[in-house]
Structure formats: structure tokens, C-alpha cells
């Protein structure tokens, strides 16, 4: 961040001081009129909303304010390395002027932008001008000491020194020199003060807002996914095991009637009933595997992935380094993500070998799946990878895919979690 003070030699320090002063002066001169203009326009426009005119003008003016604030954010980063976090709420795309205007006015970031205008044209103006003053004022001091005081009647006040003779002229020169040293040392820092002030007003709790936005989104996804999952389970039970048990009951009823006078037919139906019960069990087992795989419940993620690899038609090498077990929901998310990635690798990659690596470091569960296939996998609409990404996002997990055409494909998944 602080590049100016790192190089301690005099020329670069002087260059830094002059640069800061010029930057400050530019800001102060350019900003004051813009700030005043936008503040007035905003106030007038908002005041005109009840009349209707404001509905049309406000969005445009607020966009201008935003551009101004954005410019300052950019300069803050470029000149002083001060990053100002920013989160504007997305605007409803096809909104009428009314909702548009009020959505804008409700956005805390827009409100902070507007609030920043008066702060910037007062405190911001002063802090921007200060470096320039500090740097250029000493030159007046030198000029005074050099004889400028003679042209005025009475004492020439240089700061608090009344210059009216050689002695006081010398004092003014000394003071000016002191100021100049100060300027050389501190002008870049003063510029940073200006941008910190900007950040204090503009930045707000943007990170928190962003976090809330992400959480809202992922929660929605989680709710949608689990609702879909419940529907699937209900349908599977209804069409599968439940139907088979009903058929079995009917067979048993028929058998009850047949058993006396047609034992052969009864026996045939008994066999069918037994088959139905076996198939119902089979379906329930598959269903359970789809909800929470038994090996996962019994052994945890490591062995569950090993067991998964054993079922793949491709030779799959699994390495696991897990000193404990993660929370059940995290394990489950990780498992189904790996399962999907491995299935993709088998189906689409054309690979003849797959490697899966599961380990836990620095509070993160990291799973990588590599294949030596043809590559070209992308996260996008319709690809299973987007689904995995959403699934992991619920746990603040991330998915990264490296899959150049020609291969190999490397899929990395990370979920922050603690092991027990």
C-alpha cells in the first residue's frame, strides 16, 4: 500500500510530496463545484418527486452521483492504495420510474453516496487542499524573507510571524523551511487521510451487505434444492416401494383365498409376493443411498469416497487425509459433489484414469478430482458443475475447474469447516 515512504531517498520523497500536493489541489479544485452541483441537483430532484418530475430526473442524477463516487473510489485505489468497498443493490431490470427511484433511494450505498457529497465538499475539500497548502505556503515564506515584506506597510504576517525586519524575516524563513520539511514528510500521508475520510463515509458496512446478499442467495438455493429433493423422495416412495407393498398385500389376499383349492397358483403368487418385497427393499435401499449413503454415515467422507471409487468402471486412485469427521451436512455436500464430479469424469471425459484427493488443511476441506481425459469441462448453465457450485455455496464452499481443451481436467472443491 504505502509505496511512497518505502524509498527513503530525497528525490523520490520530494516527488511524492509534490505529486500528493498536485493531486490534492486537483481534487479540491475539481471536486468542489461537482460536489455542490450534484448535491443541489439531488436535493431539488428529490424535492420534485411528489410533483412527478423528480421520478424521471432522480435516477439520472443519482447515477451521476454514483459516477462521481466511483471516480473517487478509483482514484483512492490508484493514488493511495485505499480500497473502498462498494455494493450497489441490483436494480429491478424492467421497473417503472416509481419503483426505480425508490429502489435507488432505499439502497444504503446510494444514500451513503449522497451523504458523502456535503462531507466531501467541506472536510474532504480541506483535507485535499491541505497537502497543497503545506507544500506551497513555505515558498511564500521564502519570498517574504527574501524581501517581499518591504513592499507592504506595517508587519507582513507570515502565519504567526509579523515580518518587519531582517530578524523576523529570518524567523519567517526558518518557519517556512520547517513547514517545507513537514510537507516533504507528510503530504502523501495527508492525501491518505483524505481518502480514508472518503472510505469512512462511502464504504459503510459494504462487506456485511455483500455477505447478507450472498447468504440470501445461497439460502434460497438451499431451500429450493431441499424442496426438490423432498418431492423426488416422495415420488420415489409413492411410485416404488409403496406400490410394491400394496401389490404384495393384494397378492397375499389372493393367496389367502387360493391356498385351499388351488395350492399351485397360491405358491406362484407367494413367489411373486416375495419378489415384490425384495424389490421394495431394493428400492428403499437405493433411496437411502440417495439421501444419505450408508458408508458415509458409518465411516465418514474418506471411506465413502473410497467406496464410491470401487463402484466406478474406471481405475480410480483415492488418497484421503482426514484426521476427523466434518459435520454431517458438510460431509454429505462434499460426498454428493465428488460423486457428481466422478460421474461426469466417467461419462464425458474419455479418461482412462481418475485421481481423487480428499484432505483437510487450514480449516478447509479440500477435494480434488483429476482425470486424464480430453478436458473442455466448463461451469455453466445445464452442466452439472453449476449445480455442484450451488450446493457447495450453501456451505460457503467454492468450486474451481481447470479443463483446457485436450485435458487434463482438474476439479477442486473447498468447504470451510472444522473436523471433530
Amino acid at each position: 500500500m504505502n509505496t511512497d515512504t518505502k524509498s527513503d531517498d530525497f528525490p523520490s520523497r520530494a516527488r511524492g510530496a509534490v505529486l500528493a500536493a498536485v493531486q490534492g489541489l486537483t481534487l479540491a479544485v475539481a471536486v468542489l463545484p461537482c460536489g455542490v452541483a450534484f448535491l443541489v441537483l439531488t436535493l431539488v430532484s428529490v424535492a420534485l418527486i411528489p410533483v412527478g418530475v423528480g421520478l424521471v430526473t432522480t435516477p439520472a442524477i443519482l447515477t451521476g452521483v454514483r459516477a462521481l463516487a466511483d471516480a473517487r473510489r478509483r482514484l483512492a485505489a490508484e493514488w493511495c492504495g485505499v480500497r473502498i468497498p462498494v455494493v450497489y443493490r441490483p436494480l429491478p431490470s424492467s421497473a417503472n420510474p416509481w419503483t426505480r427511484t425508490f429502489a435507488l433511494l432505499r439502497d444504503p450505498q446510494v444514500r451513503r453516496d449522497v451523504l458523502w457529497l456535503p462531507v466531501d465538499m467541506t472536510a474532504g475539500f480541506v483535507t485535499a487542499l491541505l497537502p497543497a497548502l503545506l507544500l506551497f505556503y513555505p515558498f511564500e515564506g521564502f519570498a517574504v524573507a527574501a524581501g517581499l515584506w518591504r513592499v507592504t506597510d506595517g508587519p507582513y504576517w507570515y502565519l504567526f510571524v509579523p515580518v518587519d525586519g531582517p530578524l523576523t524575516a529570518l524567523a519567517a524563513a526558518v518557519l517556512a523551511a520547517g513547514l517545507l520539511v513537514l510537507a516533504f514528510r507528510h503530504t502523501p500521508r495527508l492525501m491518505r487521510v483524505h481518502f480514508r475520510l472518503t472510505r469512512a463515509v462511502l464504504g459503510g458496512d459494504a462487506e456485511l451487505a455483500e455477505r447478507v446478499r450472498v447468504l440470501t442467495e445461497t439460502r434460497q438455493d438451499a431451500v429450493d434444492t431441499s424442496a426438490a429433493e423432498l418431492r423426488r423422495i416422495e415420488r420415489d416412495l409413492h411410485d416404488g416401494a409403496q406400490a410394491r407393498l400394496v401389490a404384495m398385500g393384494m397378492d397375499l389376499g389372493t393367496i389367502e383365498m387360493l391356498v385351499e383349492h388351488d395350492p399351485a397358483q397360491a405358491k406362484r403368487l407367494l413367489a411373486q409376493a416375495r419378489r415384490n418385497s425384495a424389490e421394495a427393499l431394493e428400492e428403499l435401499r437405493d433411496l437411502v443411498r440417495g439421501i444419505h449413503p450408508p458408508v458415509l454415515a458409518e465411516r465418514g467422507l474418506g471411506d465413502a469416497v473410497r467406496a464410491l471409487a470401487l463402484r466406478l468402471p474406471l481405475p480410480t486412485e483415492v488418497t484421503v487425509e482426514l484426521p476427523g469427521r466434518a459435520d454431517a451436512p458438510v460431509e454429505s455436500a462434499g460426498y454428493f459433489a465428488v460423486s457428481e464430479v466422478l460421474t461426469n469424469a466417467v461419462k464425458h471425459s474419455g479418461a482412462d484414469r481418475v485421481w481423487a484427493d480428499v484432505h483437510h488443511t487450514d480449516g478447509r476441506l479440500r477435494i480434488t478430482v483429476t482425470d486424464n481425459g480430453r478436458g473442455g469441462a466448463v461451469i455453466g448453465a445445464g452442466s452439472g458443475l453449476a449445480g455442484i457450485e450451488r450446493r457447495l455455496a450453501t456451505f460457503d464452499g467454492v468450486l474451481a475447474v481447470s479443463s483446457p481443451a485436450g485435458g487434463p481436467t482438474l476439479v477442486t472443491m473447498e468447504i470451510p469447516c472444522a473436523l471433530s
Binding site: 435401499r285 470401487l310 463402484r311 468402471p313 481405475p315
Partner: protein
């Protein structure tokens, strides 16, 4: 023949006890949790243990772990593991010591009393009883690349499947309703085609087949 039985669901435990008694087994102990199973295995020296994978108190793979621990203390202790689902992973762990006397079956197999009792007897005698589902998983994975099993005729594949489950030639012959001599011919053909050593010992035969199907893992 003395049996130690571990199953946490009362209905199933009760049913198994009655079934085993009906076929002439003596129930040395019927328990419902891991610690009880460990104690029963140590104290009553059974001829065979029938064990559910998932047992209290952990409801994870406590039964499997108890059985494996007991086999480490008493190598070759016949253990038949029952499970709601079958995993190659567990099958491999059970077979790892190569001692035989191991069975791993889906719980549903008890529906067919005769086959189930046959499996218990086979395991008690030091043989192997692998669930057809485990074997099918292995075979289907293998048939993906056509190299190793392509040379086998459909009949030979059937024989291989039953052999991998742990059946003797006589057992396979009975199942496929052919003579034992025909099976002997098939098995020697299979061994030749797969490059396995011929062996009379049923258990070694199974291990050889499984090792072959499972290799480059």
C-alpha cells in the same frame, strides 16, 4: 453348532434365532450391541458369529469392527456379516487376512432360509459366502474393459459368479442343475483363461477369483 448372533432390531434378531434353531443351530448368545458382542465372542467361543454391520451404541460399523477385532484375537473365527447394504470396501476388509471363514451378505438373503443357512454352514466350515451383489458389482465393473472376461462363455461367467460367491463345485452344480463334472470342466477352463492357479481349497479359490477381479486397484 454354536452361534453368536448380534442384531439390534428385535424383530430380526428374534426371527434369526428361530430360523437358526429350526435348522439345528444352538444359540450361544443373541446380543444387540457392539460391547455385548465383543464380550459374547470372547466368552462363549462360538463356531460361527452372525453379525450386523451397524450396531449400537455408535450405529456406525461397530459390528464389523468387533468382528474384525475378534478375528485378530482368534484367527479364522468364522464370521458372517449381515448388512442392509453391501459395499466392496467392507468385503475387501473382511477378506483381507485371507483366512477364510468369512461371509458378507445382504440382510434380505435371510428371506431364502435354505440359501442363508447354507451360507452360515459354509462360513462355519471355513469357506466363504460373498453376496451376489458384491460379485455383480465386481463383474460389471470388469466387463467395462473387455480384456479379461471377454474370453469367457456366458455359462462360464455364471459359474465364475457363483464361484466368487464361495460355492463349491457341488454347490454350483446344484444351483445350475448340471452335473458336478460339467462344473469341474468349466472351472478349469475359467482358471486357464484367467491365468489363475488351480486349487482344490474352496476358500483359496474364491480369494484367487476376487483378487483377479479386483486387481490394479
Amino acid at each position: 453348532m454354536r452361534v453368536v448372533l448380534a442384531e439390534d432390531l428385535f424383530l430380526l434378531r428374534d426371527g434369526l434365532v428361530r430360523m437358526l434353531e429350526a435348522f439345528g443351530f444352538e444359540i450361544a448368545a443373541a446380543v444387540e450391541s457392539g460391547p455385548e458382542l465383543s464380550r459374547a465372542l470372547a466368552e462363549s467361543e462360538p463356531d460361527v458369529a452372525v453379525v450386523d454391520v451397524r450396531l449400537p451404541p455408535t450405529h456406525t460399523d461397530e459390528g464389523l469392527q468387533c468382528a474384525l477385532a475378534a478375528r485378530r484375537v482368534r484367527p479364522g473365527l468364522p464370521v458372517l456379516v449381515l448388512s442392509q447394504h453391501v459395499e466392496q470396501l467392507y468385503a475387501r476388509e473382511l477378506l483381507a487376512d485371507g483366512d477364510g471363514g468369512i461371509g458378507y451378505l445382504l440382510k434380505d438373503r435371510v428371506f431364502d432360509a435354505e440359501q442363508f443357512i447354507d451360507a452360515v454352514r459354509r462360513v462355519a466350515a471355513g469357506g466363504t459366502a460373498m453376496d451376489p451383489q458384491v460379485i455383480q458389482q465386481l463383474l460389471s465393473r470388469r466387463s467395462g474393459d473387455d480384456r479379461p472376461l471377454a474370453g469367457l462363455t456366458p455359462r462360464e461367467l455364471e459359474v465364475l459368479e457363483l464361484m466368487a460367491q464361495g460355492r463349491s463345485n457341488a454347490g454350483i452344480a446344484a444351483q445350475l442343475v448340471v452335473t458336478e463334472r460339467a462344473i469341474a470342466k468349466h472351472t478349469s477352463n475359467i482358471f486357464t483363461k484367467l491365468g489363475l492357479e488351480v486349487s482344490d481349497d474352496d476358500n483359496r479359490r474364491v480369494l484367487a477369483v476376487l483378487a483377479y477381479l479386483d486387481r490394479d486397484r
